[in-house]
């Protein structure tokens, strides 16, 4: 989507307000009063203990989350295997998402996003020669690009001297921002720059999720029937009210410059360029709540890919659980559901641990040259493999340079696809393309548009149904003793009569 303002661009501001001095050593922790962020966590890899949280900023946050949540955060703050380069400085920037059930202040079903910069720095003065630390920014808002930018800038400043006053200053600056709101173009002063960011138009509200979860049959039926899924989402949009909420068309969205949650923050083309021919299949899996395991060598790749998958069905908000990055240490590892979930991991052990999951997407290091050959991999052959062989098929040969474990890019699924489609109008890209970024953006827009239209056309009969005067949602709702029940059979019958 081309809009005049890029989602997260910055322009220098002069003269900028002087950043408060770093001299005062006893500054009280500043809380973020306008909710842009919840807190920061500084984590380190301790030689005796492994991953641990050094401190939260503001420190009061530690009283709000219990020990389990603290350990979850600590584990998610570090790469779980994969690459451990021995360069002077290594920086990883990635995101995770975590259930906030252990936060006493959070309401049920709330999630928190974590944006991490992991920094591994050579330092001969410490045992083993490396300082391994992470700065985590926790927030409730799905403002991926903005927070990714912020956490990078903040960590760049913080890690120079590990000065806590950096965090103090950042909080003070952010507190001068207006409150966040949906669908709004912000110009946020930050570290002498003006960060321009457009918030997405819709943020799923916890109460809606709760509403959906209150109908267990709706949740159960999601997996197998796409129609059921859409039913749920229609209800979600209506949010209990029986009204004719006009569907917002992609065109209208574009004219208004609106953005969907997550969707405008990620580059689909970059993440899925080796899997373009599978995107329709993935769209279907996401829509029908199939579990998907995304494997990649780095947390950055899998976290972006998971979020891109989730937003592939925009404007329908993804109803299931998704974890852009997940580790074997997470307290929920043993209790992951078997449907309505998408997780991103770097540890190939998950291929074994989640054998019951039918869909695995493995993303490798981007090697465009290799992809055509890999795409032609007959999937049927892989399907018949036992888990150990599957794992072997997923993980490829020796990499001489380092210990980096490389994944063979592939997409394995046991489900059949219903929707057929082709992506058209993509620009061919070569490795040495000078205008690479521009072409990637074009292709990304094309993919987004294509799938938005696909989702809209999927929703069309439903929109028509609920918009027509003759038929309203009431037709399908039966009031029983205690609650209203949505009669899906009636709805199917009606839809069949009308459109099939």
């Amino acid at each position: 989507m081309s809009t005049p303002s890029s989602p997260c661009s910055t322009s220098p501001v002069t003269p900028c307000s002087p950043i408060s001095s770093n001299n005062s050593s006893f500054l009280e922790d500043v809380e973020c009063i306008n909710n842009w962020i919840d807190c920061f966590a500084i984590c380190s890899f301790d030689i005796e203990l492994g991953q641990k949280i050094d401190f939260f900023y503001p420190s009061t946050y530690s009283e709000r989350v219990d020990k389990i949540q603290q350990s979850n955060i600590a584990y998610l703050a570090f790469p779980d295997g994969g690459t451990q380069p021995t360069k002077n400085i290594t920086n990883f920037n990635y995101a995770f998402r975590l259930k906030d059930e252990h936060n006493v202040a959070a309401s049920e079903n709330e999630f928190v996003f974590g944006h991490v910069v992991y920094r591994q720095k050579k330092d001969s003065s410490v045992h083993r020669g490396y300082v391994m630390k992470s700065l985590v920014l926790l927030t409730r808002h799905p403002y991926i690009k903005l927070h990714r930018y912020l956490v990078q800038r903040i960590s760049d400043a913080y890690f120079i001297e590990e000065n806590i006053n950096v965090l103090h200053d950042v909080m003070t600056q952010i507190n001068k921002w207006p409150y966040p709101k949906t669908d709004f173009q912000f110009a946020l002063p930050f570290q002498g720059h003006r960060v321009s960011y457009r918030t997405p138009s819709y943020t799923p509200h916890p109460s809606i999720v709760r509403f959906l979860n209150s109908t267990p049959e709706a949740a159960n039926s999601i997996k197998t029937n796409i129609y059921k899924k859409s039913k749920v989402d229609i209800k979600k949009d209506v949010n209990g009210r029986v009204s004719s909420v006009a569907p917002v068309t992609p065109l209208k969205e574009r004219l208004l410059g609106r953005k969907y949650v997550l969707q405008h923050e990620l580059n689909f083309y970059r993440h899925f360029k080796s899997h373009l021919s599978h995107l329709h299949h993935m769209w279907e899996l996401v829509l029908s709540g199939e579990p998907i395991l995304v494997l990649s060598p780095t947390a950055g790749e899998c976290s972006s890919a998971v979020m891109a998958l989730v937003s592939l069905i925009a404007p329908i908000p993804y109803k299931g659980d998704y974890r852009p990055y997940f580790t074997v240490h997470n307290s929920e590892f043993r209790s992951l559901p078997n449907s309505n979930i998408i997780i991103g991991v770097t540890n190939p052990f998950f291929v074994k641990a989640l054998q019951s999951w039918d869909n695995v997407l493995a993303l490798g290091k981007s090697k465009p040259k290799k992809s055509p050959q890999l795409l032609s991999n007959p999937l049927e052959n892989l399907l018949a493999l036992s888990p150990s062989k599957l794992q072997q098929a997923l993980t490829s040969g020796p990499s001489r340079e380092s210990l980096t474990w490389e994944f063979k890019e592939c997409f394995i699924t046991k489900s059949k696809t219903i929707v057929k489609g082709t992506l058209e109008g993509l620009v061919d890209l070569n490795d040495d393309d000078k205008n690479r970024e521009g072409a990637e953006t074009l292709n990304n827009d094309q993919i987004k548009r294509h799938f938005e239209e696909l989702t809209e056309s999927f929703l069309l009969p439903l929109h028509m149904c609920f918009d027509s005067l003759v038929c309203s949602l009431k037709t399908f709702i039966v009031r029983s003793e205690h609650e209203k029940v949505f009669k899906k059979e009636r709805f199917y019958e009606y839809s069949k009569k009308k459109w099939l």
């Binding site: 493999l385 040969g397 210990l403």
Partner: protein, 207 residues
């Protein structure tokens, strides 16, 4: 190339933190010593193709984090290992004392034919030795382990330890003790991948 080897053996390297597990792996796969080696977070991997009895065998090595706290997670990695390298540091007696508990894990969580090799690392620091060769050798004998002292720094015996373990595994296959087609064996016969048509029982969709 995946077609260039006939077997894949899965190895796991275990032992206390700081005994040199990652350095052993790195020395074996890259023939280099990492003077400063970052802590292993989670699990790391290395592979190398070796030759035994004119057969190409790919060793797939899982290198684990040694922190006590990760014990529970490390246990999940044992399953299906054909070989386990149990490493201690000859200059730190404590790491030798902990072997019993590592061995219990390894025995309980692998199949009876998994080859377990005891490795006393940091031979280059022999003058600071706290565990004698004889003592460790006796421990190995009592527990039916192969024993070797290595130096990940100089590379001494590193190659030998990996290859000797692989040789034992290969002998077990040859003599029929190990069934390479069983998932538990930690061995994968790669020909099934080269001729996948044979395994085509379920028909899936190609997209």
């Amino acid at each position: 190339m995946s077609g260039a080897h006939e077997y894949i053996f899965k190895y796991i390297i275990i032992g206390d933190m700081g005994v040199g597990k990652s350095c052993l792996l790195h020395q074996f796969t890259d023939q280099k010593f990492m003077t400063d080696c970052p802590h292993t977070i989670g699990v790391e991997f290395g592979t190398r193709v070796i030759e035994i009895a004119n057969k190409h065998i790919k060793l797939q090595i899982w290198d684990t984090a040694g922190q006590e706290r990760f014990r529970a997670v490390t246990r999940s990695y044992y399953r299906g290992a054909a070989g386990a390298l149990m490493v201690y540091d000859i200059t730190r007696r404590q790491t030798f004392h902990h072997l019993a508990s590592w061995l219990t894990d390894a025995r309980n969580l692998t199949n009876p034919h998994t080859i377990i090799m005891l490795i006393g690392n940091k031979l280059d620091l022999a003058e600071q030795r706290e565990v004698s060769f004889e003592e460790a050798s006796r421990f190995a004998q009592e527990n039916g382990l192969i024993y070797m002292e290595t130096s990940a720094k100089t590379g001494e015996n590193v190659e030998r330890s990996f290859i000797e373990t692989a040789t034992k595994i290969y002998q077990n296959i040859e003599s029929g003790v190990l069934d390479p087609n069983s998932v538990e064996s930690g061995i994968q016969v790669t020909t099934t991948l080269i001729e996948p048509a044979r395994e085509q029982q379920q028909s899936g969709c190609s997209c």
